[in-house]
């Protein structure tokens, strides 16, 4: 496989979806095995790619064999894939998470969408292909195409749920289209000034022609940022996310919540680093009243605080988690914009760790819903006794969210807070700590509810949307749900203990970028 590994990452899910179209419609029982096979192949290819990247530094794959002009030094005329350690890490996360969620979905998809299982798995695989393709590509426009694939599939994956889910998905379509169109427009603005579409070429032309100060490039950067911010639900643009994730079927939430926002953050970092360049992103702009990166860090502090406060006010587990995601997005955006290497490292590390934290929590909540038929906090009385293993995994996830060692959540906080201190952005540091404390309150409220029996908690009668969740409950947790949950929980600790290895990988990719000391 070797040299062809990068393309297999994307092709495996694509062919899996085709296979389901050919045989899965008739033989529904084959859908899941095909999905698992495709995703396993994709994971294997990702691992292979990542190993090559570790050995070589980066891995370039030319689609269609179109070499760059002038013996490989000129511009790219085709589309190329480029994997470095950062994108390799994100690819690993995508492959691993999607495989785990696919295992987890065995009973859930049949329960949530009994009559459209093949369609569900086709969309599922194509979403994974889209996300992986976005991460791996080095072409700004190809990224747009894959962005749309992942968007369309995620709209549909949400909309197969309850009627509230359809409505949320509709809002998501509107917001998502605006976001993707802004991105497209931004690429257009870049294209009109540079005439190329390959990300590295765009950067090279911007540098060569000294375009950094031109209004078009400025506006392009704003448009692209706005676009990805909408897609990642950065705070004032977050409105679509909570409903979309909480009303969607269990599997959809478990797949999208860990991956979609994280991949968008990776895209943002990619844009900052590869397309515009750090010098452009972090330099104070003459004539701007505010320092560009200061402004974004301030926004992300607000996002963190707002997300945490909104999460605190929710009584529904899934809703609450979605607001925590919004706060976590603030972590990563802020970290990336702190304008120092630690912050960037922390942001990338947090992409990895947050993906698994969110996965662990969503999987646990999925199990809770499957077992109790609802997800209100009031309904969690005595769950520690009823399902101790699930709750233990949930606890690990929650501790990671709070940021207690040795889970990975602690270490991402460690790097981000350290970077905040180094950059002198005290409000960001404060926001991170505040959010940690808020998460502590949120989760311990749940633990308390789940630990103490009902009579102590004086629970209100649980009320819930009847068509939001399956009403029939399972007697015991199927192992197809328990195993992914536990793998994700253990991963949190493994990622924490071996965080330095990951951070070194990230650093090796960041090495080529000369981080200058933050101004101000």
């Amino acid at each position: 496989m070797g040299e062809q590994a990068p393309i297999v990452i994307v092709l495996a899910p694509l062919f899996g979806a085709l296979l389901i179209a050919f045989v899965g419609i008739r033989f529904k029982a084959l859908c899941l095995p095909v999905t698992l096979g495709a995703l396993s192949l994709s994971l294997a290819a990702t691992v292979e790619t990542f190993r090559t990247v570790l050995a070589r530094g980066e891995f370039v794959y030319l689609l269609g064999g179109w070499k760059r002009l002038q013996e490989g030094d000129g511009i790219s005329i085709g589309i190329e894939y480029r994997v470095d350690t950062i994108s390799g890490l994100v690819l690993l996360v995508i492959a691993a998470v999607s495989l785990l969620v696919a295992i987890y979905s065995r009973t859930r998809v049949v329960a949530d969408t009994p009559d459209r299982v093949p369609y569900y798995y086709m969309l599922y695989l194509l979403l994974v292909a889209g996300l992986a393709g976005m991460t791996i590509t080095n072409d700004a426009f190809n990224l747009y195409v894959l962005l749309e694939i992942s968007s369309l599939t995620s709209y549909a994956l949400i909309a197969v749920g309850s009627r509230r889910a359809v409505l949320s998905a509709f809002n998501y379509v509107i917001m998502g289209t605006i976001g993707a169109s802004f991105y497209l427009l931004g690429i257009g603005y870049l294209y009109i000034k540079t005439g190329v579409l390959n990300m590295q070429d765009i950067h090279a032309v911007i540098i060569a022609n000294d375009l950094a100060e031109s209004p078009s490039i400025r506006v392009a950067s704003v448009l692209i940022l706005m676009g990805v911010w909408i897609k990642m639900a950065f705070f004032p643009l977050h409105a679509w996310l909570p409903n979309a994730y909480s009303y969607s079927p269990t599997t959809t939430g478990a797949l999208m919540a860990p991956l979609v926002t994280k991949v968008m953050i990776y895209i943002m970092i990619r844009m900052m680093v590869t397309v515009f360049g750090l010098d452009y992103s972090f330099r104070a702009t003459p004539g701007m009243p505010l320092h560009w990166s200061n402004l974004v860090v301030t926004l992300s502090s607000i996002a963190i605080v707002a997300g945490s406060v909104m999460a605190l006010s929710r009584r529904d587990l899934k809703k609450m988690l979605t607001y925590i995601i919004i706060a976590e997005v603030g972590y990563m955006v802020g970290g990336a914009w702190l304008a120092n290497e630690k912050g960037m490292t922390g942001a990338v590390y947090h992409i990895v760790s947050d993906a698994f934290m969110t996965l662990c929590l969503f999987l646990a909540v999925g199990v809770i819903i499957a077992r109790t038929g609802q997800s209100r906090i009031e309904g969690m009385n005595g769950l520690f006794k009823k399902m101790p293993l699930t709750m233990a995994a949930f606890t690990i996830g929650a501790l990671s969210m709070i940021g207690l060692p040795p889970t990975c959540g602690f270490f991402s906080k460690w790097y981000l807070v350290g970077a905040g201190i180094e950059a002198g952005q005290w409000h960001y540091v404060g926001a991170l700590l505040f959010s940690s404390l808020m998460n502590a309150v949120i989760f311990f409220r749940i633990f308390e509810m789940a630990y103490f029996p009902k009579e102590v908690n004086e629970a209100e009668p649980a009320c819930f949307d009847p068509d939001a969740h399956p009403l029939e409950t399972l007697e015991k947790t199927p192992s197809s749900m328990a195993i992914p949950l536990w793998i994700s929980a253990v991963t949190l600790i493994v990622l924490g203990v071996f965080n330095y290895t990951i951070v070194q990988w990230i650093a090796s990719a960041l090495q080529s970028l000369n981080f200058f000391p933050a101004a101000g």
């Binding site: 207690l404 040795p406 460690w414 201190i421 180094e422 700590l433 940690s436 308390e448 630990y451 330095y500």
Partner: protein
């Protein structure tokens, strides 16, 4: 100093953690289950004792899990004098407490005993982790683990009172550790250029200014809220809703001592006493601790619930330790370190007694204890010895540590703080001795007890006798503790 690389610290720490598996597995068979607790306890003590000669020789035992958990900081155990002393105390008392717990839990017909013993074992592992931690990060890790592992113990009864107590407990401990210690720690990491090792005698020395030092010190002292320094003390009285063995071991020995242990580490390992001496900032901590000593003693006087009174007394005694180390004098630090052991023996005796009274007579309030000495003479005699030790009167170990503390104050030349010691000793006497007095020396008709009430079960009484005897023995043979303490202060060798 010679360094020995050995996995013994790891095994010592893991002994109790691994015991959780058989404890849970044999939850249905209490005797078998408890036998695992004991074997783990003895295994742990043996392992600790194995390392004792090395440490007394001035060697250091090291074990590294992960070479670099973050850049420049390993996840590492290192056993030195201070850690050894604390470990010795904790693991010895664990065995006694386990014995006591069996008597108490069965005597008081508590439920969910499997969970209780399992989390008890986890807590011990976390305590040892803190004691062995070679750097600030490792210490923080186990510190947080301890906070969480003790939550199910504190809220063991799962009733409304337990919920309130548990809520206060975690709110204080977590909010301070995340809100104060975490940023302080990361700031230290940044300032020190990626070094957090305790062994160098202050990795922050010469790297921060006076104002930064003061802020960091305050963050650490308040952040390690397990030490109960006011105003972050009120989790401790609230945690008294726990069954008495928990209060005894955790809230007289393990948890609270971990708090002060961390603060001692901050003074000796993070800043270094020599460096702090060059700035006049530690005295702020001294006065905060002094204030806590006096105020908590006054509050203790007003408490009628025996365990709450003991809790406030603990708060005061902990601040002795903080005060001692913040004096930065060799005697002060020695006194602090000794006081960890002395107070542990004394206070655990008192808690054992309180529990024994509860098991035997179902009494919780001091006003109900008139004449109890007549029906439970052994228990109340032990109580008497325990209170002597806490007050600091001969012939108990408490005198020795208090002696060093007072010497330290004089050495540092803070005469105002000397008054704190004097006043608080009087107050200590004032809230303990009347209990003993009324228990024994009341007229028979005043006694609130029928003659039918007997001593608590043997499993309860034996440990409390042993600990009270230990309190006395420590007065006569404090040598080993002094040796260990001198390894830290560097005096006496």
């Amino acid at each position: 100093m010679e360094t020995i690389t050995s996995p013994i610290p790891l095994f010592a720490c893991l002994a109790s953690l691994l015991a959780v598996i058989p404890i849970v597995a044999f939850g249905k068979n209490p005797n078998l289950r408890e036998s695992f607790t004991f074997s783990a306890g003895f295994a742990k003590l043996t392992l600790v004792l194995l390392m004792l000669p090395w440490v007394l020789d001035g060697k250091i035992v090291e074990f590294t899990f992960v070479d670099e958990i973050v850049k420049g900081v390993p996840l590492q155990f290192r056993v030195d004098g201070l850690g050894m002393l604390f470990t010795l105390v904790a693991s010895t008392l664990w065995i006694l407490t386990s014995l006591y717990a069996i008597g108490y839990m069965r005597g008081a017909h508590e439920g969910s005993q499997t969970r209780f013993f399992a989390f008890f074992a986890v807590s011990l592992s976390a305590t040892l982790g803190v004691a062995f931690a070679a750097n600030l990060l490792t210490m923080y890790l186990f510190y947080e683990m301890l906070s969480l592992a003790t939550f199910p113990l504190v809220t063991h009864h799962q009733d409304r009172e337990a919920r309130t107590g548990g809520r206060t407990y975690l709110t204080y401990l977590l909010s301070t550790s995340i809100g104060f210690v975490l940023p302080a720690m990361i700031y230290c990491y940044w300032k020190s250029g990626g070094n957090m090792d305790f062994s160098t005698g202050g990795f922050l020395a010469e790297k921060v200014g006076p104002t930064e030092s003061l802020v960091l010190l305050l963050l650490f002292v308040f952040g390690f809220a397990k030490s109960g320094v006011m105003p972050f003390h009120s989790w401790l009285p609230n945690a008294m809703v726990a069954p008495t063995p928990v209060s005894a071991l955790l809230h007289a020995v393990a948890v609270v001592k971990v708090g002060v242990f961390c603060i001692i580490r901050v003074f000796t390992g993070v800043f270094g006493t020599d460096f702090l001496k060059t700035m006049d900032v530690a005295v702020v901590i001294s006065w905060i601790a002094g204030f806590t000593v006096i105020v908590s003693s006054l509050i203790a006087l007003t408490q009628d619930n025996l365990k709450r009174r003991l809790a406030f007394s603990t708060i005061g005694q902990l601040s002795y330790i903080v005060l001692g180390v913040s004096l930065l004098s060799t005697f002060g630090v020695t006194g602090s370190i000794l006081h960890i052991a002395m107070h542990a023996c004394g206070k655990i005796t008192l808690f054992f007694c309180a529990g024994a009274i509860y098991v035997a007579a179902h009494k919780k309030y001091i006003s109900e204890l008139v004449g109890i000495g007549r029906v439970m003479p052994v228990t109340m005699s032990a109580f008497f010895i325990g209170s002597l030790s806490v007050i600091g009167l001969p012939v108990t170990g408490g005198l020795i540590s208090k002696f060093y503390l007072v010497m330290g104050t004089m050495q540092a030349g803070h005469m105002g703080l000397l008054a704190v010691f004097l006043v608080s000793s009087i107050l200590n006497a004032a809230y303990f001795l009347p209990i003993v007095y009324k228990a024994f020396l009341c007229r028979p008709e005043e006694s609130q007890f029928e003659p039918g009430i007997k001593e608590a079960p043997l499993a309860c009484v034996v440990p409390l006798c042993i600990t009270s005897i230990m309190s006395v023995l420590l007065f006569f043979f404090p040598g080993i503790l002094l040796d260990l303490a001198s390894l830290i202060t560097g005096v006496g060798n």
